[in-house]
Subunit: 413 residues, 2 copies
């Protein structure tokens, strides 16, 4: 294998059809940002869009903006645009609540659609909040529902006639491993179960075709690869095939058939609207919309090609520059099974990441020993990857990560 160099990385960047997008982001001086899988950076267009929403829509339009600025339709008009990023047709996606709340709604709906079945299957290593919400739902129902947690390999065997729903995160938050959405969905359906996908690390990051895969339900996140801002609203998907029979328990006014009739009894709205609950933050949706519209302008094939190429560069640079330093690759070598991040285990992971951040290379750490590096093709360059790995090599070579100032403390790791 030829030796990787900074010049070779620069040559890849020179050929990058997505290169112009980088200038659309506010990227702080002296920072290489590889944590867009946790919080996407600020699109330069967002402050002006928010200023306009605040000063014009809220400040001047006041209550009239619910009609005049289209606020009342925003969960659905923005949902439709997110749908185009995840292979979901118009009227199947709504922006609503948080990913956690949406998991609860979707699982409750799935159990109601499979009343004789009492099992939810998921991965033991799924993102914890998904599991917590399933636990909360099962405890609330108190009817003997079981959350059956298995490894990814054990999923097919876990799908029996007692399974109401299979809930998986499409791209693993720790390792970046990606499920075959179509194949797994088929397996769930073959067992008579509904398929719920968590797209937190997929939307805007990898090709997704929910309608094509025949998925039933999905949820996703606005603040990671969609660059919607901290705590951006989440979204949920309900396939056309089950919308008429879909019922979720958080039956708030926005999901009512006639929200402004103020009837005392709940009647579900037609279509995806019945999956919504209360009033979402308009300002937060205006910020999210900028990230989504930007992502829609990027050619999908180029996004995936560059994402995979960045990961190849990262892994090659790591192999070359940090060999023997104790890093163990967690991300699948097979490109078809990878999301848009690269992860390594290292027993000193926490301190190493702190030392790396102190040098301006921002990835993140996940317990117990995982260093994660998000590779967002809209703004990360091959040169950035090279510089990040070289900095990591320097952190290891110098031994600075062993200094007391990088030892674990604080709330957010």
């Amino acid at each position: 294998m030829t030796r990787l160099t900074r010049e070779a990385c620069a040559a890849l960047d020179a050929d990058d059809p997505l290169a112009p997008f980088r200038d659309e982001f506010h990227l702080p001086e002296g920072v290489i940002y590889l944590d867009g899988n946790s919080l996407g950076p600020l699109p330069k267009a967002t402050p002006e869009r928010l200023r306009q929403a605040v000063e014009q829509e809220w400040g001047t339009g006041l209550i009239r903006s619910w009609n005049d600025a289209g606020w009342i339709d925003l969960p659905f008009s923005l949902g439709d645009r997110i749908g185009r990023l995840i292979g979901a047709g118009p009227g199947t996606v709504a922006v609503a609540d948080s990913t956690s709340v949406n998991v609860f709604k979707q699982l409750a709906a799935a159990l109601a659609l499979r009343p004789g079945r009492r099992v939810i299957v998921s991965e033991a290593t799924n993102f914890p909040t998904d599991l917590y919400m399933a636990q909360g739902l099962a405890a609330l129902l108190d009817r003997g529902h079981e959350l059956r947690l298995v490894s990814a390999e054990e999923v097919p065997a876990a799908l029996g006639p007692d399974v109401a729903a299979l809930m998986l995160t499409h791209v693993d938050y720790r390792t970046g491993a990606m499920h075959d959405m179509a194949a797994v969905t088929r397996a769930a359906h073959a067992a008579g179960a509904l398929m719920l996908w968590d797209l937190a690390h997929s939307a805007g990051a990898v090709p997704v075709d929910l309608d094509g895969a025949g998925a039933d339900l999905a949820i996703g996140c606005g603040y990671k690869f969609l660059n919607g801002g901290p705590g951006a609203p989440a979204f949920l998907y309900v396939s056309k095939a089950i919308q008429e029979t879909y019922r979720q328990p958080l039956t708030g006014w926005l999901g009512h058939a006639d929200p402004f009739a103020f009837e005392p009894g709940y009647r579900p709205a037609a279509g995806i609207a019945r999956a919504t609950t209360g009033t979402p933050s308009i300002l937060a949706m205006r910020a999210l919309e900028v990230g989504v519209d930007q992502m829609l302008r990027a050619p999908k094939a180029a996004l995936r090609a560059k994402s995979l190429a960045l990961a190849e560069t990262f892994m090659a640079a790591m192999a070359q520059e940090t060999a023997g330093q104790g890093f163990r690759l967690l991300t699948p070598a097979d490109a078809a099974r990878r999301g848009s991040q690269v992860s390594y285990a290292h027993e000193g992971g926490y301190a190493i990441m702190q030392a790396l951040i102190a040098r301006g290379v921002i990835g993140d750490f996940r317990a117990p020993d995982i260093l994660r590096f998000g590779l967002c093709p809209l703004y990360v360059r091959h040169e950035d990857v090279w510089d990040a790995v070289r900095t990591l090599a320097e952190v290891m070579r110098s031994g600075e990560w062993r200094e007391a100032r990088f030892a674990r403390r604080g709330k957010v790791t």
Copy 2:
């Protein structure tokens, strides 16, 4: 009774200790805004605070702002500040989700704390989303829970040994009638039930003393009298007395005892944090914080005194200027039983409100026949009330409200 005049109103305004607050709001030219009970106006400080949160905290701080800018504590630090407006001590209020979602959490928690009891009592005319959420919860539980809907007068008689929770909106969204929080809470407790207050039309509008009244649970809204912006995050209150035994079913990562340990099993956090669920919008909380901090600067006694005085002026002007026009006052004459709005019924209510709005006086309409006027003492003047009523009188005198352009249509009334 002396005849009310514009000059008399101006004299009241000249004596108003809250007058300087008006200039802190962006109030559009040519508009008299009496709909702050639906969506509060924009504080002038909000755009700059949001710009700073977007550009500095998100843009430059990126993921580091979860610690460095205090994002992780914001639901609780802002909750504590809201607590000071509603008589709730530190550690009893969190900013979270929407009011609808919070109703679900609080009711589920109440039922869990009263396992032998199957009835939730509320008013038939309570805000519909509160009733919808109770219906959704009861249907999900499928264990014979009953939502017992009565009139305000019938509440004491409805409180039997089968009642788990009494859920009331403190200030009625239609009429502006206010419950006696301490007395009603005592009645609920005497029956062994938990008391859940909806403060949507109370927080920032009327004196509230949750701790003093011995209330168990409450929820409230950020976008009405707290001026937090469209769809601002909601809040919830859990009294210190029941926090240790409180369990709610939307057990998301933010409510976990150790959110960053990424354990597979949920363990509730200590204190109010267990009432939270997923990641809230940081930008939306930064906007809400401006409205809350502003409200905290206003002397509480002056707020209530002016609110009541504005209502007296409104009612006197209506009696004098629109006598014989078919308006029926819905708001209690007794000041101790009033919130911070005045409402009238009129069979032509919808069209009259549209005609009024067309002339720049913004109140709102609620089905079937109610005109609502919110009276927010921070920015509404007695002169505004006078001008609003005179404009309404002109709308009636001219008969313009009968024009076809004001007939009912559209989504948001």
